[in-house]
């Protein structure tokens, strides 16, 4: 038999381009092995190991730099946008794992598999963010999702946790079917699953006029819409978010959303312009519905976790406004907002984790009464994160929203921008409620004492707060990075 020719150089380049992913996966395996060796009381070392692994992955991503490196004959690419999302996702994972130092002790997630699942899911997200082939994106999506299903149901003893995991899993499998079927139809029509190749074929009327192709792209969109929970594909979100261990909820809001938007952005920016009238209509309606339903449903919630779940739906709608606008400005706004949202979301969840004494009813808004002046640092941090989520200057949330809606106005979607600004005016009401409760409601007898955070936990909170403020006051360099990333994709 003749040996099959091997291009060693290409292989090495491919491996080089997925260096951060390999570091994360390697750490996951190490964590599993270490879990076997460590005694029960030494389990917190696992968390430290994971933090170190993610930090190493961040360093390796930075080492790769923003230059374009293609690997595995174009299945995956490390470019500016890939780097931006890689860093966002890894930062979210790092903060999550730092918060895990405290959370795991309180809520019984100090287990090897917990950290390994987080890391494996992170690796899936990275693949999704850097995949330039629909198959890579799909594999990344599944690698991301399956550990998350397990993580949502990690609290085996809590009914809500199991319920959320079950629903998420069933519907997630359903939506994966849509996703895969969409890819299949697109392949049938175009003969390839490579995103840039499809994009270059879009000029051809035979392709963009082909109903099979269009149905494929529609189904693909449904798959994405499920993952980023756009209305009406959002039904699972409140249940899964409320049921999941709070740390996982925070992680899902920040990182899963970032990864899904990364891949969606790649598809939308490259392929949608050619079929604009139909797609922009769809995105417009989805964005409008998502913002409105998310915000108005959040108005009625008395449980902080559930409120933030609906708020996360609403924020997906805001981000979609940027996608609808499209172009460099829209893409840049999306990138920046995903980054900002990761910080404010993780920060807000981090604080409420400390205040709530237990899962489920610990997150009722009444539990936050009167803690503002009693625990000024916690109160101040939560207020900061909520104010940023509401989009009030000088926080990063304001700059992000300004860019999203500004991009929409610039692309001529004034109506959508008006709707967005109106929505964020509505959202102030429910973001203000916890603040009012913290500062202006009398504390009940026997005011609950928040958990004393571990130093890594405190550091994560302070880092998120610093990021929210810094990106609000001096966002120039991050915005520039985002702009260059989008340009690197479009060129």
């Amino acid at each position: 038999m003749t040996p099959i020719a091997m291009d060693t150089g290409a292989l090495v380049r491919g491996l080089y381009c997925i260096l951060p992913e390999m570091v994360v996966i390697g750490t996951a395996i190490l964590v599993l092995l270490a879990d076997l060796l460590l005694p029960e009381e030494g389990k917190k070392r696992l968390c430290h190991l994971s933090v170190a692994g993610v930090a190493a992955a961040i360093l390796s991503a930075l080492w790769l730099g923003p230059g374009k490196i293609e690997g595995f004959s174009g299945m995956i690419v490390h470019d500016g946008m890939g780097l931006f999302f890689t860093l966002t996702i890894l930062a979210a994972a790092l903060l999550t794992l730092m918060m895990a130092t405290g959370y795991s002790e309180w809520e019984g997630t100090q287990k090897g598999e917990f950290y390994a699942l987080i890391l494996l899911s992170t690796s899936g997200m990275l693949f999704m963010a850097e995949g330039t082939d629909l198959m890579t994106v799909f594999l990344g999506l599944e690698t991301l999702s399956i550990p998350i299903y397990c993580l949502v149901g990690f609290h085996r003893g809590r009914m809500r946790s199991l319920e959320g995991a079950m629903k998420y899993f069933l519907l997630g499998a359903f939506s994966s079917g849509f996703f895969l079927y969409g890819i299949a139809l697109m392949y049938a029509a175009a003969g390839t699953t490579r995103i840039p190749v499809i994009a270059s074929m879009m000029r051809d009327a035979r392709l963009y006029g082909n109903p099979v192709f269009l149905a494929g792209i529609g189904l693909l969109l449904v798959g994405f819409a499920f993952k980023v929970s756009l209305v009406p594909f959002h039904m699972w979100t409140p249940d899964a978010y409320e049921g999941a261990p709070t740390l996982v909820t925070a992680f899902m809001g920040a990182a899963v959303k970032a990864a899904a938007f990364a891949a969606l952005l790649r598809v939308v920016l490259l392929t949608f312009p050619a079929i604009l009238p139909a797609m922009s209509g769809v995105l417009w309606v989805l964005a409008a519905l998502t913002m409105t339903v998310g915000n108005f449903s959040a108005l009625l919630q008395n449980n902080m976790k559930r409120m933030l779940a609906y708020s996360s739906i609403a924020h997906a709608g805001y981000i979609l406004v940027g996608l609808t606008a499209g172009g460099v400005a829209g893409g840049q706004a999306v990138l920046f907002y995903v980054l900002v949202y990761a910080f404010m979301n993780l920060g807000a969840f981090g604080v409420i984790m400390l205040v709530a004494q237990r899962e489920d009813d610990g997150y009722d808004i009444d539990n936050f009464a009167g803690i503002g002046f009693r625990y000024p640092v916690l109160g101040g941090l939560l207020s900061l994160f909520l104010v940023s989520l509401a989009g009030i200057p000088p926080t990063a949330g304001f700059v992000g929203k300004f860019y999203l809606f500004g991009a929409a106005v610039r692309s001529g979607y004034v109506g959508l921008a008006v709707l967005g600004v109106l929505n964020s005016a509505v959202s102030v009401y429910y973001y203000l409620r916890p603040v009012v409760s913290m500062y202006m409601a009398p504390a009940p007898e026997g005011i609950p004492v928040p958990r004393p955070p571990r130093s890594a936990f405190s550091f994560a909170l302070c880092a998120s707060a610093a990021a929210v403020l810094l990106l609000g006051v001096m966002p120039a360099s991050a915005l520039e990075f985002a702009e260059r990333s989008v340009l690197s994709l479009l060129m």
């Binding site: 009406p232 079929i275 209509g281």
Partner: protein
């Protein structure tokens, strides 16, 4: 060096920010432990000092009054530090602002615009919004008023708030407010202005809710914040449109590009109307105009110095400032100008009539503020921006004085705010009485005092300017008469006549400490003499004030429409005639007040009895709050319930009930139900997918 001083412009907002930081540290490390220890259990919420300090006096619990820094057990030293730091920071920024303005004045008139860019804030592509300050005649007037009046009110607060436990926290908020307000005033672009705009809103909310254990106070805070957000939404959209049209948000760029864009047809009158009306929506929120004025009277729940500073002298005038700042845009759209003028005039008379029937001394002043702000918008709407800013300044003096004076009365009367329980206070509070009387004369438009010159300028312009009309003048003059009436009603009820005070309260009546009376006196001097910088030519003055502002508004007139600001002057005799009428109306108002509240004190009640429907309508503020509650708040709540149920509750409630039933019966009925619910979720997914794909196919296939 001339520009040497101006380079330190950034210090103006920096000093209050420093004050925030230092006082914040003190509040955290010195005051909080102290408060917590003192409160012990039950926790801090329940046992805080209420504005009615009368009880505290009786029990001597939170401190004896007057000394400014005394606790029950030991006088914490930090209070003295705060009492020095907070006013000191504002005083320092006043001094810097004054020096900067002086060096600006040394420049030739056309060169009086100084821009200092600190660092780029948002920058990408062609878009740049820096953190930068702009000092020109307009912003220098604002900066001086804000820091000057602000400083006096800080000093006053040291005395007024001396019985409060959360002393440092109060000054943190107050300094933070000063910082935000100065950002608003000095910003060189719309976006940074918006930052200050939101910032003052936030501080206002914090300060209204300062006595948060009063339910009404925290409700009022929330109301103020949310009503303001509606206005902010307009402002932000206006900024988007400005950015879209002009490609910039900085003042100098936008105004410089107007002629070019207008000639090239990019900037149509319709676009100008859209931009300016959106901006004006923002202004109606912040400056409490119809239809968004409802929050300001409720804001009186905050401490009185806060009402003076934020809800009379500075923050609420931000809308007027913003409209004046955007005068070049407003002049492009006659429609928008008319809207501004009509809303201003309507608000002026509408809220003046409400002021007639209020019995709470601060609420009278609140409606008076709304009414006076209406005058300022009336001025802007008829193109007399300089007159509007002039009235803004004089109003800051006399209205701050009125509030502080009423605060002094309330302080003396142990927290009593109802004028029906006052009377004859003149004997006990001579300084307060004299200063407040001067302010009342000023607001009523008695010739020679500050309010006369500014108000008369507005009335004259609303008659004679090309944008004006006799109808606007008539409404303005009528409102002036009503103003004189209710202000003298306030003075007569409070200071004259026999005492209607609680005997227990009357025992403790005392003149306020010097930290309160000195600011009152200074403001009284300003209320009397503050208008002399703007005496019109017809009265032998040279109207320095308008001349000072002219570079801002003249370049506006040149760039904007057709010489609106300098309309042909009708005859001087007409001007004198109108002046005479408005003074006559004011005197008539005072006369009626004298008749009703000094000579025939039984008459008001009799009138109220005779026209009960009208009296009720006015007394209940035309039921506007109730209408809003019914028409807006209820609708929003219903709407969101509907949306939520529509999409989620149908399924989620089903599950909650399902689980509950499951626990009860543990039968397989529940399992079927639950399966059906996930099925429901899946169905919505499927339906969404079908719709989405169907829509795409339909849109792409059908040409």
């Amino acid at each position: 060096m001339v520009s040497g001083v101006l380079d330190y412009l950034w210090l103006v907002p920096a000093f209050p920010l420093l004050g925030v930081i230092l006082n914040g540290v003190l509040a955290l490390i010195a005051e909080r432990p102290f408060l917590l220890k003192e409160a012990g259990l039950p926790p801090p919420g329940g046992s805080h000092g209420h504005p009615s300090r009368g009880n505290s006096h009786a029990t001597e619990a939170p401190g004896s009054h007057g000394s400014g820094a005394s606790g029950p057990h030991s006088a914490p030293v930090y209070r003295n530090v705060v009492a020095f730091l907070a006013p000191g920071a504002v005083g320092a920024s006043f001094v810097v602002a004054l020096l900067c303005v002086l060096s600006l004045a040394a420049r030739p008139p056309e060169g009086r615009t100084f821009v200092q860019i600190l660092f780029p804030w948002i920058q990408s592509g062609s878009f740049l919004a820096p953190v930068g300050f702009q000092l020109d005649p307009l912003s220098s007037v604002m900066a001086l008023v804000v820091t000057g009046v602000g400083f006096l009110i800080h000093v006053y607060s040291v005395g007024y708030m001396s019985h409060e436990r959360a002393f440092a926290r109060y000054f943190v908020y107050l300094n933070l407010f000063m910082f935000a307000m100065l950002m608003l005033v000095l910003a060189n672009n719309y976006l940074l202005m918006f930052v200050g705009w939101e910032g003052v809103g936030l501080c206002s909310y914090l300060l209204i809710g300062y006595w948060y254990e009063k339910q009404s106070a925290s409700d009022a805070g929330k109301k103020a914040f949310i009503v303001n957000r509606i206005g902010d939404f307009g402002f932000l959209l206006g900024v988007f449109l400005i950015f879209w049209t002009f490609g910039s948000v900085s003042f100098t760029d936008v105004f410089a590009r107007i002629p070019l864009l207008r000639d090239s047809g990019v900037l149509t009158a319709g676009m100008a109307t859209a931009i300016t009306l959106l901006l004006f929506l923002g202004a109606t929120g912040k400056s409490a105009q119809i239809p968004l004025y409802v929050w300001l009277p409720d804001a009186m729940e905050g401490p009185t110095p806060v009402s003076a500073l934020i809800h009379a002298a500075t923050m609420v005038t931000a809308g007027v400032y913003m409209v004046a700042r955007s005068s070049a845009l407003f002049l492009l759209s006659p429609d928008a100008m008319s809207v501004v003028a009509v809303i201003g005039a309507a608000t002026a008379i509408f809220s003046a009539t409400i002021g007639i029937c209020q019995t709470d001394i601060k609420r009278v002043l609140a409606y008076s503020t709304v009414s006076q702000l209406g005058y300022m918008f009336l001025a802007c709407g008829v193109g007399a921006f300089a007159a509007g800013i002039f009235h803004l300044m004089t109003h800051a003096f006399f209205k701050a004085l009125l509030f502080l004076g009423s605060g002094s009365v309330i302080h003396a009367l142990s927290g009593e705010q109802d004028m029906r329980k006052m009377g004859g206070v003149r004997r006990y509070l001579p300084v307060t009485f004299v200063t407040m009387f001067a302010a009342t004369l000023a607001i009523s438009g008695i010739p020679g005092l500050s309010g006369f010159f500014s108000k008369d300028e507005i009335l004259w312009q609303s008659f004679s300017s090309p944008h004006g009309s006799p109808a606007l003048w008539f409404v303005g003059a009528l409102a002036a008469g009503i103003t004189a009436f209710y202000m003298f009603r306030l003075v007569f009820l409070t200071f004259y006549g026999g005492s209607r005070m609680d005997p227990e309260v009357e025992k403790h009546v005392h003149e306020s400490p010097w930290t309160m009376t000195v600011p009152l006196s200074i403001l009284a001097v300003l209320s009397v003499a503050g208008g002399w910088v703007g005496i019109p030519a017809s009265l032998g003055g040279d109207n320095r004030f308008e001349e000072w502002l002219a570079p801002v508004f003249r370049s506006v007139a040149a760039a904007g429409a057709h010489g609106a600001a300098t309309g042909a002057h009708p005859s001087v005799s007409l001007e004198f005639g109108l002046m005479g009428i408005s003074v006559g109306v004011a005197l008539a108002g005072i006369g009626i007040a004298y008749f009703l509240y000094r000579l025939r004190t039984s008459k008001p009640a009799e009138i109220a009895r005779r026209v009960p429907a009208l009296y009720d309508l006015v007394y209940h503020k035309y039921y506007v709050d109730e209408i809003y509650e019914w028409a807006v708040v209820r609708r929003v709540v219903d709407g969101s319930v509907w949306l939520w149920q529509m999409f989620d509750a149908l399924f989620i409630d089903g599950i909650v009930n399902g689980i509950a039933d499951g626990v009860r019966s543990a039968g397989d009925r529940v399992r079927r139900l639950q399966a059906g619910i996930v099925g429901g979720y899946a169905f919505s997914l499927l339906a969404g997918a079908v719709l989405l794909v169907g829509y795409i196919l339909y849109r792409s296939m059908v040409p």
